[in-house]
Structures are given as structure tokens and as C-alpha cells.
């Protein structure tokens, strides 16, 4: 089966001082039709830039290389007409803060109808289409919401409106950039359930960007982990939790608090996450890695197949065999 989205060796640079600086050094991932893939990383890892590169909404000073293909068509070389059709029909993106993407002096109906107008859907037809979209995101009084202004609605409601707008063009790929980070936990659960249901019912491919491995596991088939502008691990979402392949993933899993059990002290990673342009030669994670050896600093580890997934760590097999990458389960701690 052809991949719906394929990213190969993506590199994104911005001018910084006198030279170009990497914000993404090497990202490779693929999404099959109808598949949900979580893209997990801390701040500066390049996950949002990766998603923005897919719909080509990076700032104009960005220099992008590598390959992005949608259904076999190269995205980076699309001409403007083709690109517009791609954004209108094939792909949609939702963001962390819906309120900055909505015009405060226009109603929700106005906002939803704008895209429809391009397809010649106006007037009563647009209103009834908008109503149907809102009921698909489980808003049970669509008429009131349609006539509301953004400030009259809660954050969870606005994010539902953004999702409604995203599915209006019946896209085959949805890019969701931390769509629930700004929401309360109970609202987060509801919005996630809506995204999950829509993508299953409609067979939409989903790239779900988050800093939270649990969230990725909850709604994604596979999880891709990024560190300092590189993909470092890719596996089934459950496998990431049970048997992480990369020391960074293993470190993230044990360093966060668990709701089900208190730990005397968390087993934290030293230091802080770095951006791609701050990365040293060799493995970018080596300075924070408990298992780093001099050879790790010599060259960038290849992103290679292992145990049904992929990993960029030269010691992965060895560490796995020695049981050094196993997450400490709650019962054991």
C-alpha cells in the first residue's frame, strides 16, 4: 500500500547570525491511509516545524530540503495552484490555541462558511452544512454556536469548531499540533475522543503532535519520538511504553510523575532538551545519556530498523538485552 504521507530526510534551516541554523536536521516518517501517528518531543525538538513543512506554511526565510510526498506527489515542489488544491482538499491542520485562528469580530458561521464559498456553497446551504459539521463534533446546539462570536465560547468549544472546519474539506490527512494542551483535562478527553472517532469513521490519516507519550498512546497506532531535530525512535504506541528502543524515550518514561503511584524521587534526565542547532557532533542525546560512550559522540547514529520499529542509537540492541531500557513499572517501583 502506498503511504498517504511520506517524509524522508527532512531538513529545515533558518538564518541565524551569519550562517543557516538547523531547526530540523533529519526527520523521516510515514503515515498510511487512515493511520494515526503520534509525533512526540519536547520544546525545540522540531515537531511543529515538521508539521508546518507538510502544508508549507513555514516562514519565508526557512530553507527546506529532503522529501515530502502526499499520495506519491512531491509536496515541496508543488506550484501555487497545485498547493492550494492540496491544502483545500487533501490536508487540514488544527493548532493549540484556536482563538488566534478565529477572527474575533466574525461569527462562527462566517468562519465555517468562508471555505465553503470557495466551493460555491453559500446561503442556506452553507448554514445547513455548517450545522451538520458542528453536530459531527458533538455540539448539540449548533444554531446557538453558529451565531456566536469566539469570545462567547469556551476553549473546548472553539477547538471543536476548528475540528469542524478542518473536516469540511473532507481531508485525507489531519495534522493536529498539540490540539488539547491548552484545555482542561476533562475537556481534553472529550476533544481527543472526537478526533479519534472522526479519524476512524472517515479513515483520515492523523499526525498528532504532542509532548505527552500517554496521549499519543491513547489515540495513535504508532509513535515517533523526536529529539533535537531528529527522529530517534518509531514503534507501535504500546510498544514504546512497554519496550522503548532509545535511551531518550526510556528516560522520558521514567522522568514524569505517574497518577497511579508516587515515587520517592523521579528518575530524571540531567540537563535540558536542546534545539537542533545546539546539538553537538555525533548523537545529539549523548550529553544527557547515561549509556553514552566515546563512540556515540563520533558520528550521528543512523535511523535504522529494529524490533518492528526504528531507532537512532548505536547501542540499542545491547541496552535492550541488558534490560537497561525497560521502563520501571509501577508495581516494581
Amino acid at each position: 500500500m502506498t503511504d498517504l504521507l511520506r517524509i524522508e530526510g527532512l531538513r529545515i534551516q533558518f538564518p541565524g547570525g551569519s550562517q543557516m541554523r538547523d531547526v530540523v536536521s533529519e526527520v523521516s516518517l510515514a503515515i498510511a491511509p487512515g493511520e494515526a501517528v503520534g509525533l512526540v518531543g519536547e520544546s525545540g525538538s522540531g515537531k511543529s516545524m515538521t508539521a508546518r513543512a507538510v502544508i508549507r506554511v513555514l516562514p519565508p526565510t526557512a530553507r527546506v530540503s529532503g522529501e515530502i510526498t502526499f499520495d506519491g506527489a512531491p509536496v515541496l515542489s508543488m506550484a501555487s495552484k497545485q498547493l492550494r488544491a492540496f491544502r483545500q482538499k487533501d490536508v487540514a491542520m488544527i493548532f493549540q490555541d484556536p482563538s488566534v485562528h478565529l477572527n474575533p469580530i466574525r461569527t462562527i458561521l462566517d468562519f465555517l462558511a468562508e471555505g465553503m464559498r470557495l466551493r460555491g456553497v453559500t446561503g442556506d446551504a452553507a448554514r445547513s452544512r455548517a450545522k451538520s459539521l458542528l453536530s459531527q463534533v458533538l455540539i448539540d446546539d449548533p444554531d446557538r454556536v453558529l451565531d456566536s462570536y469566539p469570545h462567547q465560547l469556551s476553549g473546548g468549544m472553539l477547538q471543536r469548531v476548528m475540528i469542524a472546519s478542518a473536516i469540511d474539506g473532507e481531508p485525507r490527512l489531519l495534522l493536529a499540533d498539540e490540539p488539547t494542551t491548552a484545555l482542561d483535562v476533562t475537556t481534553q478527553a472529550e476533544v481527543l475522543a472526537i478526533i479519534d472517532r472522526l479519524r476512524r469513521e472517515r479513515g483520515v490519516g492523523l499526525l498528532f503532535i504532542t509532548h505527552d507519550l500517554e496521549l499519543a498512546a491513547a489515540i495513535c497506532d504508532r509513535t515517533v519520538v523526536m529529539y533535537a531535530g531528529r527522529t530517534v525512535e518509531e514503534q507501535g504506541s504500546m510498544a514504546v511504553h512497554r519496550a522503548p528502543l532509545h535511551p531518550y524515550t526510556a528516560g522520558l518514561l521514567v522522568s514524569r510523575p505517574h497518577v497511579s503511584q508516587k515515587q520517592a524521587r523521579l528518575q530524571v534526565l540531567p540537563g535540558r532538551p536542546i534545539a537542533a542547532y545546539e546539538a553537538p557532533g555525533g548523537c545529539s542525546f549523548a550529553p544527557r545519556c547515561a549509556h553514552a560512550q566515546p563512540a556515540c559522540e563520533a558520528e550521528v547514529p543512523a535511523f535504522r530498523a529494529l524490533a518492528g520499529g526504528h531507532v537512532a542509537c548505536r547501542r540499542a540492541e545491547e541496552l535492550r538485552t541488558a534490560g537497561l531500557l525497560k521502563e520501571v513499572t509501577h508495581a516494581e517501583s
Partner: protein
């Protein structure tokens, strides 16, 4: 005067706060009562609009309560505006660390200068010892460098804010979503730091305002659950997280993503 050890560190009686917004009254806090013994860590959880930040701001003396009483170590929150000496005196009892460490530090003041200022304002060290004492406090929070905030990471800035609060040697430290904006790997470091501080300063009372129940499990002894300005449930951390009884607490607990968790949706007005 240090208060007798018998009195609770924080005592709040029937606290109410009404805001006037555009000619309308909004009840942010509708009658909240609780006590926190000295040295305990209390988590205050609830969603946006539940009143938890308003409660913290009242305890800090940044908002006036509409009615009710607030006592810290047996001393009443003074009536009227807190300014000058009265504000300083109250601030010696209670300090706060905010979520946004980019807004809460002066961009022109170095980490050491920031902590030294707190020491100077509260007469905690003679002039000649300000710099070494500030460096010592920063060392205690794991920051062994001196720099302006814009060259510090989020985690380092939050350490500066914690060191500044501890410089005053308060009875009560309020942390308002203080780790919410930090990266996962850095958040763990700050949570461990807070655990170390509790071990070293057993009399320090912590009020941890958060929406993150995993953080609650890690840092708090007891939990207060707030919904729309009221306390709907309170108890030990284990009781609240493992045996919640109020429907709202249950819903909150069920919404926490964990391995194997699946989100569920309801229609919503």
C-alpha cells in the same frame, strides 16, 4: 513574632470573593473553608474558572476577599490595602511561584541580583553578605551560574523564582501551576527539587495549585478539589486519587491519560 506551633499554618474560614464584571456580579469563590497544618503539602485542583488562582491571590494579599477570614500562622490577613510595611510583613509569611517564569522575572536583573533583592528588601542578610547568600540559595536550587533571564532556560528560570521565594524564608510557599509549562524532563527535576526542599525545610507549608493529577500524586499530602468556587471534595492524596467519591472528582480522575486509557466524548452545551 513566630506563632505557636499548635496553630495551623493556613486557616481559611468561609471565604468569598465576588468580582464586578461589566455591572454583573461574578462569584469566583463561594464560601471556602480549610486548614493546612504546618509542613503539609496541599494540592488545590480544579479546572479553569474553579477559583483556585483567585484563592491563591487572596492568600498572597493580591486580592481582597469579599468576606471571610484568612490566617497564616495565627495572624489575620490585615484589612484594607496591603502596602508598604504591611505588604512586606505579609510577604514574609507567604511567597508565590507563578506558572509563567518569563513574566515573573525582571529581564534586566541577573539571577543572583534577583535573589539578593529579595534578601535585601526583607532584611534577611547584611549588605556585604547579599551576593554570597544569593549564590548559596541559587546553589540550593541547583543553579550554579549567574545570568540574565533571557539566557536561562525555562527550568532554570523557575529555579530562580523558587530561590527568590525561599530567600524570604516564608511559612507558606504557593506554587501556581509552577511546573505546568516545563518540558517533561525538566518538570521531573523541579519536582525532585521541591521534594528535597520539603526534606530540608520540614516546617515549610506548600500549596500546590495544579490541574495535573500526576503532579498531585507526586507532591501533595492532601488534596482540595474545587469546582465553580466551592470545595467539592477534600482528603488525603491517596483517597482522592484512588477512591474519589464526588462525581466531578471521578470525572477528573478518569480524564487523566495513562497507558491503556481511551478518551470518551459526550455532547456538550
Amino acid at each position: 513574632m513566630p506563632s505557636p506551633d499548635a496553630s495551623p499554618s493556613v486557616s481559611v474560614q468561609d471565604l468569598k470573593k465576588v468580582f464586578r464584571v461589566g455591572g454583573q456580579s461574578v462569584e469566583a469563590i463561594r464560601g471556602v473553608t480549610f486548614e493546612v497544618p504546618r509542613g503539609e503539602s496541599l494540592a488545590i485542583v480544579g479546572e479553569s474558572g474553579s477559583g483556585k488562582t483567585t484563592l491563591a491571590r487572596i492568600l498572597m494579599g493580591l486580592e481582597r476577599p469579599t468576606s471571610g477570614t484568612v490566617k497564616l500562622g495565627g495572624e489575620d490577613l490585615p484589612n484594607g490595602r496591603l502596602n508598604g510595611r504591611r505588604r512586606r510583613r505579609w510577604a514574609e509569611r507567604v511567597q508565590m511561584v507563578f506558572q509563567d517564569c518569563y513574566a515573573s522575572l525582571d529581564p534586566r536583573q541577573t539571577a543572583r541580583g534577583c535573589v539578593a533583592e529579595a534578601l535585601a528588601v526583607h532584611h534577611k542578610a547584611p549588605r556585604s553578605e547579599l551576593a554570597p547568600r544569593a549564590a548559596e540559595l541559587l546553589g540550593r536550587v541547583g543553579l550554579h551560574l549567574d545570568a540574565l533571564p533571557n539566557s536561562l532556560s525555562g527550568g532554570q528560570r523557575q529555579r530562580v523564582a523558587i530561590a527568590r521565594a525561599l530567600a524570604v524564608a516564608p511559612d507558606v510557599l504557593i506554587l501556581d501551576e509552577a511546573v505546568a509549562a516545563l518540558d517533561v524532563s525538566v518538570q521531573g527535576q523541579v519536582l525532585n527539587l521541591l521534594a528535597d526542599i520539603r526534606d530540608e525545610t520540614p516546617d515549610l507549608t506548600l500549596l500546590f495549585i495544579t490541574h495535573d493529577l500526576a503532579v498531585v500524586r507526586q507532591v501533595s499530602d492532601r488534596v482540595l478539589v474545587m469546582e465553580r468556587g466551592l470545595v467539592v471534595e477534600s482528603g488525603t492524596t491517596d483517597d482522592i486519587l484512588d477512591r474519589p467519591t464526588h462525581p466531578y472528582t471521578k470525572r477528573l480522575r478518569e480524564s487523566v491519560p495513562d497507558v491503556g486509557w481511551k478518551p470518551t466524548a459526550t455532547t456538550q452545551v
